[in-house]
Symmetry: C2
Subunit: 405 residues, 2 copies
Amino acid sequence: MALIVQKYGGTSVGNPERIKNVAARVAQYRSRGDQVVVVVSAMSGVTDHLIKLAREIMPLPNEREMDVLLATGELQTIALTAIALHALNVPAVSLTGAQAGIVTDGVHTKAKIHNITPRKVHELLNQGNVVIVAGFQGETPEGQVTTLGRGGSDLTAIALAAALKADLCQIYTDVDGVYTADPRLVPQAKKLAEISYDEMLELASLGAKVMQSRSVEFAKKFGVVFEVRSSLNDNPGTLVKEETKSMEEVVVRGVALDKNQAKITLVGVPDKPGVAARIFKALGDSTVNVDMIVQNISHGAGSPQTDISFTTEKADLLKACKVIEKLRQEIGIRDVITDEKIGKLSIVGVGMKSHTGVAGKMFSVLARDGINIGMISTSEIKISVTIDLARGEAATRAVHEAFIG
Amino acid sequence: MALIVQKYGGTSVGNPERIKNVAARVAQYRSRGDQVVVVVSAMSGVTDHLIKLAREIMPLPNEREMDVLLATGELQTIALTAIALHALNVPAVSLTGAQAGIVTDGVHTKAKIHNITPRKVHELLNQGNVVIVAGFQGETPEGQVTTLGRGGSDLTAIALAAALKADLCQIYTDVDGVYTADPRLVPQAKKLAEISYDEMLELASLGAKVMQSRSVEFAKKFGVVFEVRSSLNDNPGTLVKEETKSMEEVVVRGVALDKNQAKITLVGVPDKPGVAARIFKALGDSTVNVDMIVQNISHGAGSPQTDISFTTEKADLLKACKVIEKLRQEIGIRDVITDEKIGKLSIVGVGMKSHTGVAGKMFSVLARDGINIGMISTSEIKISVTIDLARGEAATRAVHEAFIG
């Protein structure tokens, strides 16, 4: 007998028929003798509808009241899911985030989980119930409803799995698992049987968004093994867990292409201490998210100058340029060049730690196909390069073929 | 400075525009220096939609889960109403029934309020906030969400007014107040400036349904003065309160016609002790609501027989007949006659206690117009008669003219 936490997203519980399907799957696990805790999101469309109502009243509604409003979506789903299990003669009880013991800080609309005391969940499980818990929400110690922000229901499931010491946590979604590349781009992409937390984190931050980074970080921190799988079929998904020796045998776990980056190059920047700090502090203060940064060696003898390039999301490009324009005179930047036609191609794998020549092989493949490399950035388990956007998809396929097949 | 509890029903908060109107009214009271507590229902249509979703999953859903589901409707409205007040720069905080301190028993879908500890409400009011409370809901001492059943939001408002020792409780609805008769039936009907609890209770039970009886009973028990008025205009409504000396000067406060009654006559029932008890106990056990009961004098010497007539709602007629059919042989009832073509015409007024000849005058008016009286039933402040349904509306107008004008 295992204790399993299952999480179903908004599409999986989008209407009464789908909620019945979820119940049927839960009932199946339970009939094997497992104890099941189910975490559900709001039915798809409900949260957006509520946001629309609030914005019709006021463009920037109060965040405490938005939490009261938005938390109702999940409350509806827990009740309907419990009813669907009753219809299958499975005893089931719904719990709000607060009733499940999820205590958060008071940062409304993006609260952090402080601690979980799942006494009530254990009690109901031991009485033979399936326990349905509202995702995405918690309560402050003072009894205020809070929500956890984007990807909050995943976080609820993983945090509950940790607190309950569950044997497995399953994240049901509309994809089959984590793939070696986006299957729409690379037809040869394979579903991974397993992946390490760190690889998953790199892939998430690279735009292969199956899950929000913070849920994966939480799982890593508390050692929660979870499976990403589809609610539409019975195929096994991808296990996300601590890396093992055998994982290192695979050099490249996945290839990702991010088409949403833009590059800014500052030409002729005085090469003296504190200049780069001032530039990137100003960008950070204006909430511009900077990803890759590359600084070339300086040239010029008396007052040496250098070039600095960085990437940011296309959506932040204009804001970044405004920040730079303000600093330009003051710092003395000769020229600013922007480029929106770039793609960021990355390969990720814990095996890179123990294998050499990975970067060389990647660059050779690109060179063979005549694809020019712009910026390069590496971590212990990742190599990213910027390339011409027009060649992005072909490059992704070539690199995938070279490393994965 | 007064403390006012205002309750707005589902139509009054039916969309963002109407919620803004509610906020404007609340802001107006507050700008006079009043402290305002607002009780709101679910937006019209929301509760029905949720019930429909649940029934698509299971025809008779679990009542605890229905409470979790249905309570979300009011939670959405409290948040949106608070936001609408913020848009007018009025500080406002929403509270769930539980947060407002409303503790109920555990009878899901029709819970009774046990007690209210409105500490939080006082605290927020004293900080200068308008406090928005979710109607229709409470929490058991164990922390389970409950709902109060039909008319529950009125009950929340009146119970809160009692607990807060409010100066006034206003029930905003889509009618202007309580009238001397249904204005659609009697064009001369006048809005009442005031009415006693007992008169309101009689009128409510007579089908002039502005409010559920139990809210009025609660108000009477705790001496809560409340005003029924329209959320669509600024007209003063009707004050409902303990009867005063001056109220007794008005003999008839209102005239009501109930077209939903049916009459069952049991002909030739043995006139011996315990027979009537058996009949009406059996009806009660089958949840048939019996209203008027009339038993004629007995006739026959050796084994005396009598006729018993009673009325019930048309919807219960079939059920009532089945109950009677089962008893017929056993008790020895000669014949059963049913009549769905009756109307119940009633006049209500606390002044009847001190005025004589009221019944005589009513019967004369009906006789003058050739309207035959079937059954008669009276209380200290009410006279009801059954008449031919086809003559019901004309009779209502004639009686209204004779007593009220």
